[in-house]
Each structure stands twice: as structure tokens, then as C-alpha cells.
């Protein structure tokens, strides 16, 4: 079903990576790619290896085997601060804010690796436009925000790096349904402004509605890969991840 992408289109290409946590073989040959301008989602159960895949990309847990290419360059064993500098920013699982820094300081941390720091003001404004709520709370300590607001900070912080690829790890986790809607709306908006996104989600329904393509992970492997629309129709996906009875 999936059309083979042309080489120029692909900005992130993961080729058969194997990643370990100590002796545990967490990723057993994962391959996927993200093309310019699209939202790709990675869904699957807890422990399937979704977060590990992201950690492999950004250098926090480098794969022992396989190749990761970003914009044609091999980044398989590039340290994480370099990966960020090259343009891959992420909103990590569990948000991972700096709780005693203010919202504004958190956002500024997102731009840490940028060399053109003079446009900081402009980028802050962009984030505040995207999340007016954060503008109201810019001097508040991040640790005192609600879950939804913290998620906004996490996404905003990643945007401050002016990423060429945005990795989002479970942006809907622990949020009230109304916030989930809002977050996905913003994910779409960020994408429409031109940033490709790799979205890891447990909320498969929302993720497949938002993304153009999807990968389904099971125990360290890609079990299914298809257009998001097709995956929504897939019987197995419906049963396992969308919670629909047979």
C-alpha cells in the first residue's frame, strides 16, 4: 500500500536498528522513515519500544546495530547535544520540565543549542501565540502548572529549538479529554507551519486521525506500517488499539 518515498523527500530514515538497555534487547530491527512535511505516528502498547525508538534517534540511547540518517547524514552515534543542534528537538515522555524554572526559562532552555540566539524574542512570541495560556503564566514555576499546561511548555520548549524534525512522546498522556483535543489541534497547527513530526502515542485513535502515516510497534518490532487511514480500517488495529469489539 505505502508508496516508496523518493530519496529527497525522506528527512529521517531509520534502518534496522537494534537498541539495548543493558542486556535487554529492546529494539529488534526497527525501520521507519519520516518525509518532509508529514506527521508520522508510532503507536503500540506499553513497552513495545516506542520511547526507545525516540531515544535512539536523539542519541540518549544509541543503537548497537543499524543506521539512522537525518537529512542524509548518519547520526547513529552522534551524541545527543549534537543531534539537537542538527535540528531534532523533542518533547520527552512525562514532559520532563525543569520544575523550578519559570515557564519562560524553560522555553529559553529549548533554544540552548541554537547558534542564532538573537531571534529568541521572536520565537518566544511564536510559542506564546500558539499557547496564549503560557504567556499569562510565563513567570510561574513550571512545576506548579497543570498537566495540560506542562505539556504545552514541553512542546513549546521543543519548538524553541526551531526544529527541522519534532519528536513528540505521548503528548496526550495523563491529560483531560478536552486538553487532549487541544494538544492534537496544536500538533496539527505546528505541522501546517512546516515542521515534520514523529508522534509517539498510546491514544491510537487520536494519533491516527492526526497523522498521515502510522507504524504499529509490538515488542521491539514494527508490526504494521501503512497510511493512517488504512490503519484505522485495519481489523487487528481496531481490535487491539482502538478498543473496538470484534
Amino acid at each position: 500500500m505505502t508508496t516508496e518515498p523518493t530519496r529527497e523527500d525522506v528527512i529521517l530514515e531509520i534502518d534496522d536498528i537494534h537498541t539495548y538497555y543493558g542486556a535487554i534487547h529492546a529494539l529488534k530491527g526497527v525501520s521507519l522513515n519520516v518525509r518532509a512535511g508529514e506527521i508520522v505516528t508510532l503507536i503500540g502498547a506499553n513497552g513495545a519500544g516506542k520511547t526507545t525508538t525516540l531515544r535512539s534517534i536523539n542519541g540518549l540511547n544509541q543503537p548497537r546495530d543499524g543506521r539512522i540518517r537525518f537529512q542524509g547524514r548518519d547520526i547513529t552515534s552522534v551524541p545527543s547535544h549534537q543531534v539537537v543542534k542538527m535540528g531534532i528537538a523533542q518533547s520527552p515522555e512525562g514532559r520532563k520540565l525543569f520544575p523550578r524554572m519559570s515557564v519562560r526559562e524553560n522555553l529559553e532552555m529549548g533554544a540552548f543549542q541554537r547558534s542564532d540566539r538573537k531571534n529568541l524574542r521572536e520565537d518566544l512570541d511564536r510559542v506564546y501565540t500558539l499557547f496564549p495560556r503560557l504567556s499569562e503564566r510565563k513567570n510561574q514555576k513550571a512545576g506548579t502548572l497543570s498537566g495540560g499546561e506542562q505539556q504545552m511548555v514541553a512542546i513549546g520548549r521543543a519548538l524553541m529549538a526551531r526544529p527541522k524534525l519534532l519528536l513528540l512522546d505521548e503528548p496526550s498522556m495523563g491529560l483531560a479529554p478536552i486538553f487532549v483535543e487541544k494538544i492534537f489541534e496544536i500538533v496539527r497547527e505546528i505541522n501546517e507551519q512546516g515542521t515534520p513530526i514523529l508522534l509517539v502515542e498510546q491514544n491510537a485513535l487520536m494519533a491516527l486521525e492526526t497523522a498521515s502515516r502510522g507504524y504499529v510497534m509490538e515488542t521491539g518490532r514494527i508490526a504494521l506500517a501503512d497510511e493512517a487511514k488504512a490503519l484505522r480500517q485495519n481489523e487487528q488495529v481496531r481490535k487491539t488499539y482502538l478498543g473496538e469489539g470484534a
Partner: protein, 412 residues
């Protein structure tokens, strides 16, 4: 007031807030100047202060002040590692030792095989050994200690939390042991073993500068030696504090705070963990080295018995008492504990004995007492005497802070 805060969205509210912070800043600056002034002129009123009927004994002598200031300098240096970067270092004494021995190597009779003089004062031209001007030795000590800091840091900083603390504890033990046993390294006497190295040259500006600018030729031979040592210590402390504040507000300082708050998140933001942590170690060591070298020159000796583990803990207590991460707090903590250590406990002890008629040697229980102070601090004021401004500013702007939550941040 409350209404004003709520109105921060409007222009008037913002202006009021701005005016208030400017006022606040002016006030703290004025306070700072007064404090520095009081400190600098201490020699001129210490005698009359000590003659006071009521509290006279509580004013430390100039010599005690030098010791207090040197230890405070080290505490401010340690605060870079523990307070800013959140790396629990239980072996800071190693840097103190490295600094002191650098002074001992480059400004004493230790290496009598050679005779090398460069700007040394108060020693005759033909005295054997290396004799370099103490001012240069301070710089050398700072650089050497920085290198030691990097050498200790590179293998250990991969570790986190408790593991890091244990390894630094190990290094804090290794260095004094090395110094104690370093009197015959393949037959070469590097540290003069348990005897230590003494005497060490005095600071001073030499005869030329003395003639032209009236700067003291050699501190130890001057009539006001105590005052000179005191003022120099104050200048070194001010330098340390200035650098420390500038570092805190720099990009590197922000990276340290990020690592302290959440190491994984910091890495995800592109903070190079190893490099940033090693910088904290190196810069913390830098000031420890200067303090150690100056102290060695002040007391004219470096002895292995000075570098026991308890010094590391003592410095850590200063940081905790004052407020982890808060420069001003650490200064207060350092001066208070330093005073208790050199004079205070003895003074208080004799007062207590006088009043109660019992014979109780208070200074004997010093570490029990410091431990008790720390336990009390942890229970009732875990953020320290003067908490870090980060907390304070947030309190001013009306964000409610839960003290218990802050107390847990060292555990991360």
C-alpha cells in the same frame, strides 16, 4: 498590594512591578556596599569592638577572620559544584590540598635541588628551592587544581547521585593519603610526608613596587601583617563571589541548573552533560585551589593533617546552612560556621561554663554540634538561611512555594 499583583496584565501594574523590582535591586545593592564596607574596615574597629562589655568576645580576631574568609571562599567554590550543578561532592578537600601543595612546591625550600627565584619576597636571593611570587603561585594553584578537578571529574561524572558522592568521597581520601605518603615516590620527595612542607613564602609586592607605590614589600615582615593578610583575603573572597555570581547568570550557569533539575531533560535540550558537569568541577576546583594556596602562604605551611575528610563535610555544612545554590547564603553559612570553628564554640563554651559553673568543653563536641545544626536546618528551614534567589523571586511574584517540595530537590 494584592490587587496590584493581580493587575499585572495592565500597563500600570507592570510599571508598579518594575518600580518595585528596581527599588528592591537598589536596596540590595546598598546593603551589599554597606556589608563590604563593614568588612573592609573591620581592622579599624575590631579592637574597640572586642572591648565591648556585652558582646566583645564574639568579635573574631583578624587572624581568625582570615581563616573564616578562606573557608568561606572554599564554600563558595563548592557551591558551584553542589549548589549550581547539583553534584554532591564529598571530596572537595582534595582541591584545598592541591592548592596548598602547589604553594608549598613553588614557594618554599621543598625542592632544594634547584634554586629558582621569580618575584619572591622576604627570602634571600641564594635560598635554595623554588620561590615564585605568591601572586603567581595563586594563579598556578588555580590552574593546577582545575586540571586536578578535570582529571577527577572525567571518570567520575558519568555517575549520578549517590554513586558520584561515593566516588568523590574516595578521591577526597586518596589525595590526603597520597600527600601523607608522597615523601618517596621512586626516591623523590614530593610532599615531605607527614611533616608537611614549611615554611612557605609570604605574599608581598617586593621592593620596587614598595618604593614606587608604597605597596607592602613582604606581608610577614610588615608591621601590620594581620591587616594585610585580612584585606587580601577579602579581595580574594570578593573575586570568588563576583565570578560565582557571573557564572550563575551565564549560559553555563543555566545549563547547570537544568542538569540539577532534570538531567535527562537537560540532555534532551542539547546540554552536553559531561562537558557541563566537568566545567562545574573544574571551576569549583579553581577557587578551592586559590583558597588553599593562599591559606598555605598565610600560615606558612601545608600539612597532611589539614586535609581530612571532615573538612569536606564541614564545607558542605556551610553550603547547606547558608542555602544550597545561594551565593549570599553560603557566605553567611561559611562565616558563621567558620567563626564557630575557630573561635565561637570556645567563646560560647567558656560563657556557658562561667554562667553555669560546670566544666564542659564545648569545642570537643564541634562535629556533633554542626550535625545538630544541620538536622535543625533540614527540619525547619531546608532552603537555608538565605535561600537561592530563584525561590525568592518566585515568592515575590506570588507563586506559592511548598517548602517540602523544595527540600526534596537534592534527591533527584
Amino acid at each position: 498590594m494584592a490587587r496590584e499583583q493581580r493587575a499585572t496584565g495592565g500597563g500600570g501594574g507592570r510599571a508598579a512591578l518594575l518600580a518595585r523590582t528596581t527599588l528592591e535591586r537598589l536596596r540590595s545593592r546598598a546593603f551589599l556596599l554597606v556589608a563590604i564596607g563593614l568588612l573592609l574596615f573591620y581592622p579599624s574597629y575590631v579592637d574597640s569592638a572586642q572591648d565591648l562589655e556585652l558582646m566583645g568576645e564574639f568579635f573574631p580576631s583578624l587572624n581568625s577572620m582570615v581563616i573564616m574568609i578562606v573557608f568561606t571562599m572554599m564554600a563558595v567554590g563548592l557551591n558551584i559544584v553542589v549548589g549550581y550543578a547539583g553534584l554532591l561532592d564529598l571530596g572537595y578537600v582534595a582541591f584545598y590540598a592541591a592548592g596548598a601543595y602547589t604553594a608549598a612546591w613553588f614557594a618554599s625550600l621543598q625542592f632544594e635541588q634547584v634554586t629558582f627565584h621569580f618575584g619572591a619576597v622576604g627570602v634571600s636571593e641564594d635560598l635554595p628551592g623554588i620561590h615564585i611570587s605568591i601572586w603567581l603561585v595563586l594563579l598556578l594553584a588555580a590552574l593546577f587544581t582545575t586540571v586536578v578537578g578535570i582529571m577527577i571529574g572525567l571518570p567520575t561524572l558519568r555517575l549520578r547521585g549517590d554513586y558520584l558522592a561515593i566516588v568523590t568521597l574516595g578521591f577526597g581520601e586518596i589525595i590526603p593519603q597520597f600527600v601523607r605518603n608522597g615523601d618517596s615516590i621512586a626516591g623523590f620527595d614530593l610532599t615531605h610526608g607527614t611533616f608537611g612542607i614549611s615554611p612557605i613564602d609570604s605574599p608581598g609586592f617586593g621592593s620596587t613596587l614598595n618604593d614606587t607605590f608604597g605597596l607592602p614589600e613582604s606581608y610577614r615582615q610588615a608591621t601590620n601583617a594581620q591587616e594585610l593578610f585580612f584585606w587580601t583575603a577579602v579581595v580574594l573572597l570578593l573575586f570568588t563571589v563576583f565570578c560565582s555570581v557571573r557564572l550563575r547568570d551565564s549560559r553555563l550557569g543555566r545549563a547547570w541548573i537544568a542538569i540539577r533539575e532534570d538531567e535527562t531533560a537537560a540532555a534532551a535540550m542539547g546540554v552536553p552533560l559531561m562537558r557541563t558537569k566537568t566545567w562545574a568541577y573544574a571551576l569549583g576546583a579553581f577557587f578551592g585551589g586559590i583558597a588553599g594556596a593562599y591559606y598555605a602562604s598565610f600560615k606558612s605551611g601545608a600539612f597532611p593533617a589539614d586535609f581530612y575528610f571532615n573538612i569536606s563535610i564541614f564545607l558542605l555544612c556551610m553550603v547547606i546552612l547558608g542555602g544550597i545554590g545561594s551565593v549570599w547564603g553560603v557566605i553567611v553559612g561559611g562565616m558563621v560556621l567558620g567563626w564557630l570553628n575557630v573561635e565561637g564554640l570556645a567563646t560560647i563554651g567558656s560563657k556557658v561554663n562561667e554562667a553555669t559553673g560546670i566544666d564542659f568543653e564545648v569545642p570537643k563536641y564541634q562535629f556533633g554540634i554542626y550535625g545538630f545544626i544541620i538536622v535543625l536546618m533540614m527540619l525547619f528551614r531546608p532552603v537555608g538561611l538565605i535561600p537561592e534567589r530563584r525561590h525568592q523571586r518566585e515568592l515575590e511574584e506570588g507563586v506559592h512555594d511548598e517548602p517540602l517540595y523544595d527540600a526534596t530537590h537534592e534527591g533527584n
